[in-house]
Amino acid sequence: MPKTRKQTTDHSTHHRKRLRTTTNIDGDKFRGFGYQPAASKRKTVNVGPIERTISILGGSSLIAAAAERRNWSGVVLSCLGAGLIRRGWTGHCSGYAFLGVNHADGKSTSSIRSKEGIKVERSVTINRSPQDLYTFWRDFDNLPRVMSHLKEVDVYDQLRSRWVAVGPLGKEVEWEAEIINERENEMISWQSVPNSQIDTAGSVRFTPLSFDRGTRVTISMQYKPPGGKFVAKLASLFGQDLESKLIDDIYNFKRMMETQELPTSAAQPSGR
């Protein structure tokens, strides 16, 4: 069983809801991505003090403006205003909570702070069972076959593995990752160990669809770019950003799982 790490990530309420169930079923064994200390189940203060003041002021002026209008738009405005005042007064923003963002304290609950990290989430429907997809994915050795930016993965043991990837601008990066949560045929999440060359975390979820529609696979990856956001921005100009790579990789994963090969015209695009 994985050793619980102090650092936990917190992407979204959706994650939290799903994974809270996980924690309940498996006791306290898995405390990865979705782990939340009990206290945080209460509505927390997640709006910073300056923003709270602005919320109250903005809300008040909306209500003032609403008072001059005697039609439906006035009703809408006063509702908006009331919402803003409430947000400022209580310091809780459900929008932030949904996004897993907390602007109240300087630090984020995520292992990668939202301001530094780049997060990409994509979902795809694959015409295979969650079991098949999970089995392929869980054997990390398989991943470089479909993920063009991954050079190799060495699996050390059930939880730890070493990853080598081609990073922004062709620079090779490697890191050690640890599985921090997994449920057979349902989800896997991982995170780089502390002091890795790259700070990264990710998860993949497999949701079975009814009526013979296959499985919805949701892949979420987050990383702190080596060289900072500037290098990542630069790389994106050359189509080497995480998002476009992830899209290619997801396409390839789907193609491999559905057709057992990667369609290509590369060897003879023009008969040249």
Binding site: N127, Y251, R255, E258, T259, Q260, P263, A266, S270, G271
Partner: protein, 392 residues
């Protein structure tokens, strides 16, 4: 091997290129015995379709003999005679499982590119630009066929090439266009464009129970073929007002179904057609849609407009208000060729009835080496040149 290569706008040449090789386990290599130039190849020829690269091998209507198969292809053997559908389909995805073959999720390696343009990508196509996968086409001596365990359709030895070659695209395309009309007893079907797809749509409309078929074009030879081979009534849009004539013929109702077998390079001399032409020439718009506008305008209320003609980009001045006001059904898309191979082979073989011979539309035959001349002729003389077959 020799292959027909696209080198730029109105510049194709037959040149020596390396032979194709097996890349994936589900590939096969076909030695092409017959191939045809499609009207949609002229869209490429005239530079209307983006992402063509200099040297790309053209051709998506072809048939031949299997000469090599990948390790996963169990249903084909070396020596089999096959027709290859122009839409490449994996047979495994959501769409293939629902027989929507031309919408295959996996066969276009450049799908992310097409996602950007269209929202979602259709299947890969042979010899039809890099947006559709950059696959080398079949106007060549040999061609690599991906997912060969799904596409290639075996043909009995006793049927000549020319009778089955068009199963690769235009015969199923004409058939699907008519099928999409959901023809009811008593229906009148009007077909814009009497090229090969139009001719086959006319024939298919009869097969599917139409009471009247009306063909519209301005090339006399094509109209003559529609009348003689297709037994259709005809309207020459250079001589008659199509709307007035159709309404007169149908007692004011309009045709129950209208087929636009013209697509993005419509001809015409009306104000809107000239407007489209100017816009296209100045790169302000991609598609000339005169035929589509007319089909929508003429169609009976609650009728169907079926569109086998190819459209590629943004359409300007589509009379959508008319389509809405009249409660029209619109049906369109690349042909799900795989669906129609067996039923249409049955029509050709006859099976007790007189068989249908699609080769009657062929007007010209050239050796592969003379492809440049064939393209030029097909592009410039649409009156006498209706269908060109190339022999490698």
């Amino acid at each position: 091997m020799k292959a027909v290569r696209w080198l730029g706008k109105q510049d194709v040449r037959t040149e020596e290129v390396p032979d194709p090789i097996l890349i994936n386990p589900r590939d096969a290599i076909i030695r092409v015995t017959s191939t045809a130039i499609c009207g949609s190849d002229l869209h490429l020829y005239n530079g209307m379709i983006p992402t063509m690269k200099e040297g790309d091998i053209l051709g998506h209507e072809f048939m031949g003999e299997v000469v090599e198969v990948g390790s996963s292809v169990k249903n084909l053997s070396v020596g089999d005679r096959v027709v290859v559908p122009f839409t490449i389909a994996c047979g495994n995805c959501f769409f293939c499982k629902r027989k929507l073959w031309s919408l295959c999720d996996n066969s276009n390696p450049n799908a992310p590119m097409l996602d950007e343009v269209y929202g979602h990508s259709g299947s890969g196509l042979f010899g039809y630009s890099h947006l559709y996968g950059g696959y080398a086409g079949g106007q060549a001596e040999y061609v690599r066929v991906p997912f060969a365990d799904v596409g290639p359709f075996k043909i009995p030895d006793d049927i000549p090439d020319e009778q089955v070659l068009f199963l690769s695209d235009i015969l199923p395309t004409g058939y699907m266009a008519a099928e999409n009309c959901h023809i009811q007893p008593g229906d009148t079907v009007a077909v814009w464009g009497c090229g090969p797809v139009g001719q086959f749509a006319i024939q298919s409309a009869w097969w599917l129970g139409a009471e009247r078929v009306i063909a519209i074009d301005h090339y006399t030879k094509r109209l003559e073929l529609a009348a003689s081979l297709g037994k259709a009534e005809t309207i020459d849009f250079d001589r008659e007002d199509v709307y007035e004539r159709l309404l007169q013929m149908t007692g004011g109702l309009g045709p129950d179904a209208c087929i636009d077998a013209v697509g993005l390079e419509a001809h015409g001399t009306s104000v809107d057609a000239v407007y489209d032409r100017v816009k296209q020439a100045t790169y302000l718009g991609t598609d000339r849609i005169h035929a589509l506008r007319q089909a929508i305008y003429c169609c009976r209320k609650g009728g169907t407009v079926s569109i086998p003609g190819v459209y590629g980009g943004l359409l300007d001045k589509v009379p959508f208000g008319s389509a809405f006001a009249k409660g029209l059904h619109m049906e369109m898309g690349q042909t799900h060729v795989h669906r129609y191979l067996q039923p249409l082979l049955d029509k050709i073989q006859g099976n007790g009835h007189p068989g249908y011979d699609p080769s009657q539309i062929i007007t010209h035959r050239f050796p592969l080496e003379e492809a440049a001349e064939a393209y030029k002729l097909f592009n410039e003389d649409k009156n006498t040149c209706i269908k060109v077959v190339l022999k490698p």
